[in-house]
Subunit: 266 residues, 3 copies
């Protein structure tokens, strides 16, 4: 479905275009996602005021909506920005952090999907299952099941929303209708760094802002995440140094690293 060269070309497009990625995201990860976007060659902007999100979405190459630390005004801003992006045919990456943990999160996630029509949705396995089936409860923001368990939910979600759906975890599944691509890169310690999933969503935003094919963009982003994760893990004594080395790895990642390290069912 996808060739390795398409992943390499997608990274080159990000480096060349330096897409402006508009993030409406959570307080926990803002610094990290901004740094990750800069490191991969994109230009991040964080803006959430209802007075400006439409204007900001209007000049952005892509929009990332992450509901990690949501509240009323922020949801208003997400909806406004999302509608503007959809009207402009700008890609929207939606990260339904912690959906299923509280009724409010589940309701907001549904509202965003209906009103904004995100073109890419990324979550961990628990979140993707909770997004499709409101009877699934999650424990906070960490996944309690592995990716393949969520595959059926993800396919149904992809079909009902027309979005590319990404399940991140030990293996990453990228689903476009009936097509399923799997990335096997990454390391266990990545789950010990807060906001690694949020960073994945932001990096998908960078690729979606430079590469038109959403399946290629999403797959390339997850490949880069996993490979940078491996590069960083080799240098890290724990999750603290991992967080730092991961940014360095995103900055250093090259065609050759992708060629040498990619483990995928494309």
């Amino acid at each position: 479905m996808i060739k390795e060269t398409q992943i390499i070309e997608a990274l080159q497009k990000v480096h060349k275009k330096s897409p402006l990625v508009h993030n409406i995201t959570n307080y926990v990860v803002m610094n990290n996602t901004a740094n990750a976007l800069l490191a991969i060659g994109a230009s991040p902007v964080m803006a959430h005021a209802v007075d400006e999100v439409e204007a900001m979405a209007g000049i952005a190459s892509s929009l990332v909506i992450n509901m990690g630390t949501l509240s009323e005004k922020w949801v208003d801003a997400m909806l406004l920005a999302g509608k503007k992006a959809t009207a402009d045919a700008t890609d929207i990456v939606f990260d339904p952090v912690g959906v299923g943990a509280t009724p409010y999160r589940t309701q907001v996630a549904r509202q965003i999907i209906e009103a904004c029509r995100p073109t890419i949705i990324r979550g961990n396995a628990s979140e993707i299952m909770a997004l499709y089936d409101s009877n699934v409860a999650t424990k906070g923001v960490d996944s309690t099941v592995s990716g393949n368990i969520a595959l059926e939910s993800a396919k149904l979600l992809a079909q009902s929303t027309q979005a590319v759906v990404v399940i991140s975890g030990e293996s990453d599944y990228i689903i476009d209708g009936e097509k399923v691509v799997i990335i096997h890169n990454g390391t266990p310690i990545m789950a010990k760094v807060t906001g690694m999933g949020c960073t994945a969503s932001a990096i998908i935003g960078a690729f979606a802002g430079a590469e038109e094919d959403r399946l290629v963009a999403s797959t390339s982003a997850m490949a880069v995440m996993g490979i940078a994760g491996e590069m960083a893990t080799e240098k890290s004594a724990g999750p603290g140094s991992m967080q730092m080395n991961f940014i360095d790895a995103l900055y250093a990642i090259s065609d050759k690293e992708i060629e040498n390290r990619l483990k995928a069912s494309l």
Copy 2:
């Protein structure tokens, strides 16, 4: 009052249970405290919307309320979450950041104590004194006095609130009614990393979520903070690398490190 083995067992309980710690905390430290909680083996969640804090507190093992960057809506959320946690007999750790620096902070801190009845209160010496006596003014968020000066205030505060009171500083004092435990671990450079006190409160939340005895939980958390601080300081060139190495140390800390390094009046 406490045996060293109880501290080691408390850490094992955290590792085994991976308690869900619900944090309503400040913007400055969210990333660090989330990473610290992951590193020690807990599962952090940050949520502050009035629409969901009760539901989130309802599934949490403990609640941490930190008023570092407070504002009206956030205080509403703290009160809602706190009342729910108290109703559920879930431990509440309260961190009165900067109390005494402005009248608003002093008023909110009192309101939280009265309405939420926190079971553990942690602050630096200035904060604990200002919390007990509204005539004490503090300079911003950093302490201007040492811990033993605040000991009398802390005892009176512990008696009037029924909470375990922790004064963190060069030595850490953990007070439960008439009982006083002292931890002598830690290094001066810890005071040069922003939010180290906030991280201590979060780590107390992790221990309180896994260990029923509040004095043991609070003491164990402060012992782990001080020991991880020493481990990290040995590898650090300054406060930047200290912040990173501290997370690695929390992740690496073992029974043996506690046995070898603990300096305490238990």
Copy 3:
């Protein structure tokens, strides 16, 4: 206009006084700017509630207003704090992050300048141009032009506002009426770390809180930023390690480092 010894003395004043710097700043950089302020020897406080900003500004040595992630309530707080600081003759550093990117940002930036009368304004070249001429559009928060292009706008802005104006970039220009000081220190990778400009504004706040002469304070801060940037770059493999080493460098910077490394047109 300025002697090298004045820069060294300004740093000594910061170390000696440990000025309380009140920051109303953006979510992305709060942790970094707090750590940077601690590392240079200042005492940071972040407070944005309308209920307390006047009281906090009233005890602060300087006020830093940064509109990176602005919204309605925060702007209200900026205006309140700014007016109080002006009434107290406390220095205000204003960082108009992303001005020109949306009409809202441009309007708020003008409002802050008019209502608060900041004594120092720092931005990148695009921002300074957009601040002076509303017909200039910027791309997000990163500059698209180099500093000397903005010099004329900066001079006119300095004259109309009576503020010292700082253009940061490859070279840093510090403008006081007709006087122009240039700092040539710094490295390209600094632009790959998010919030380096915001950190510069905070460090200016530290110096303005300890050194009365605004041109000396602003110049010293930019010299320290550039020199610490060079010290950190020598040890860094990428922007992740750069962010960390930069804090260590701010903590380590000495008279001798300034003497050895300063490249400036004073």
